[in-house]
């Protein structure tokens, strides 16, 4: 099934004409409305008028996460705040988070793309969708919500957490579809089993999972645990949120990038050189219809490859394969994006904590865990030799990490000089997860 048959099956040559028209408008608009782009285009010696073909896009400079941070909070916005109807943000301490804005039309587009995604998963207005993506500044919850409403399905705005209650609602409300992070799906299955609920007998038939990397093995586990078809969705808040690309139930192999709104490239992350379709590299997206927060050649740091072969579902959009990794040090902990530098910023703001720490990421059962090992500083121990002082410090770290980054961490105080010292680039993360 296809939600917007006209656009989703455009012949490639017609699609490319549409893309070029939209891209030309987009580069003109950003050049004239966003100071950052005027500066970066000028510096690269390229003008909006230089864009004559889609291929000319490669002459334009990349936009990076750092550029977004440098322009915190609203510096990258291309419309006045009076035209912005909604804001979302990535987690992070001030200046380290990324704020994105949407005009009314952007929300409209987003709703349509999520509706397309649900239809690609075989859903209709007769479905009940249990939405366990987090609602709030995170784009997952509201993005899926908008799409469900646009489709006319019944959405249960469950948000994350409260697992026992989720299982009760899965039983009592009888949703036919679920969306959440894949690791949370497995957690739900496990909890349900512990509560004696036969998760395979629920009315669920489809799951739309994303916001973190997962594998074919996890897909099988989820499908077996719930007796459903599990599909992969891709998105990132900078570009839109969920619904940038979606796997179709017919193909179940790669996610169709909604190319009438986004252009996608793969590059060599070290050289920036464009790779031919099919080769593994870093995904780069350009938004061609976004009004409030347009991005030209945004480096996602997500590693994947494009699948140029046509799909049996009839959509003409390129597919992207599963994201298999990152070209930077960003961690995804239970669907929340966290940079080690953000954790460091939180730690160093706490009196008595010294800049020697190590992050240990693991997966217990189906949930990601993060342990922060911190050396006990001279100062904190000199002032008091009491257990409660150290425990208060531990609690402070846990609370601040939760407050600023939205991640529940475990803190372990360790003896001085026991953590590795680095000369040059520090690698403070030990990721033991086997996904």
């Amino acid at each position: 099934m296809i939600y917007n048959e006209e656009y989703e099956t455009l012949p490639r040559e017609v699609l490319e004409v549409l893309q070029l028209k939209r891209l030309k408008q987009a580069v003109q608009r950003v050049y004239h409305t966003v100071g950052f782009y005027r500066h970066s285009f000028d510096q690269a010696g390229v003008q909006p008028d230089d864009l004559k073909t889609l291929d000319d896009l490669k002459r334009f400079p990349f936009t990076t996460k750092q550029n977004l941070r440098d322009n915190y909070p609203f510096g990258m916005f291309a419309v006045p705040m009076s035209s912005v109807v909604s804001l979302h943000a990535s987690s992070g301490t001030t200046g380290r988070s990324t704020v994105v804005g949407y005009t009314k039309r952007d929300i409209d587009t987003w709703s349509e793309l999520m509706a397309r995604s649900f239809v690609a998963a075989g859903l209709t207005k007769n479905d009940i969708i249990h939405n366990a993506y987090g609602y709030g500044l995170f784009t997952g919850g509201l993005g899926a919500h908008y799409g469900a409403v646009r489709l006319g399905a019944s959405v249960i705005p469950m948000s994350g957490g409260n697992t026992k209650r989720q299982i009760m609602i899965l039983q009592d409300f009888g949703p036919t579809a679920i969306c959440c992070t894949p690791s949370y799906a497995l957690n739900l299955a496990e909890q349900g089993k512990a509560m004696g609920v036969d998760m395979r007998s629920l009315k669920l038939r489809v799951g739309v999972f994303g916001a973190e990397p997962w594998s074919e093995k996890m897909r099988q586990e989820i499908e077996n645990a719930f007796g459903i078809t599990a599909l992969n969705i891709f998105g990132l808040s900078e570009i839109m949120g969920p619904g940038v690309a979606m796997e179709c139930i017919e193909g179940r192999h790669g996610m169709h990038v909604f190319e009438d709104h986004f252009l996608v490239e793969t590059i060599n992350p070290d050289t920036g050189e464009i790779l031919p379709p099919g080769e593994v590299g870093e995904l780069v997206f350009t938004t061609i219809t976004k009004e409030a927060f347009p991005l030209i050649r945004y480096r996602t740091r997500d590693i994947s490859r494009l699948i140029p072969e046509p799909c049996r579902c009839g959509r003409t959009f390129l597919r992207m394969d599963r994201v298999t990794g990152r070209s930077d040090d960003m961690l995804i902990i239970r669907g929340v994006n966290v940079f080690p530098s953000q954790i460091e910023a939180v730690l160093l703001a706490i009196p008595g904590v010294e800049p020697h720490y190590q992050l240990i990421v693991d997966r217990t059962g189906n949930l990601d865990t993060i342990e922060i090992q911190v050396e006990v500083g001279e100062q904190v121990f000199a002032n008091a030799d009491e257990v409660k002082v150290l425990q208060n410090m531990e609690r402070q770290i846990v609370k601040d990490i939760k407050d600023y980054l939205g991640v529940s961490a475990k803190v372990k105080l360790v003896e001085p000089m026991t953590l590795q010292r680095f000369e040059g680039k520090a690698s403070r993360v030990l990721d033991k997860r086997q996904i």
Binding site: A382, E386, L413
Partner: protein, 143 residues
């Protein structure tokens, strides 16, 4: 009249304590008494030793987080209600005990308790006013 105590941060791992006792043995230091406060992840080892300076130095040289804290050593009559008498005096004056542990040796007919107070000077004054014996550091380190 305060006594200097050495406190060491220890991770909860096998061999942690043994490492400390070995360092002290090699430095010829005599542990007069000790107590270990533990949590799930870490512990704090508190000791009265015969040479505070040397202990502090060798521990720091070996990479331990060691600090020196003032505690108060009080003679406790070795009979029912002995400890209670002391605590009653303290509680009457609003003095809080952070932690306490026993000294291994006796002082004459009395036992000796080590106290960490939130207000040590006031505690000493109160105890002495009530006729209780507070022992000096020199006496404990060397006896």
């Amino acid at each position: 009249m305060k006594v200097e105590q050495i406190s060491i941060f220890l991770e909860n791992r096998p061999g942690g304590l043994e490492q400390v006792t070995r360092i002290l043995k090699d430095a010829g230091i005599n542990i007069r008494t000790l107590s270990l406060a533990d949590t799930t992840d870490f512990g704090i080892l508190r000791m009265i030793v015969n040479d505070v300076e040397a202990t502090s130095r060798v521990l720091k040289e070996n990479g331990f987080r060691a600090s020196r804290t003032n505690v108060v050593a009080v003679e406790v009559p070795d009979r029912p209600g002995g400890l209670h008498g002391i605590l009653a005096v303290l509680s009457g004056s609003g003095i809080n005990v952070e932690y306490m542990y026993a000294f291994v040796e006796r002082s004459g007919q009395n036992a000796v308790m080590i106290f960490r107070f939130d207000a040590p000077d006031k505690a000493i004054e109160t105890l002495q006013q009530n006729g209780l014996t507070v022992l000096s550091g020199e006496k404990l380190y060397a006896s």
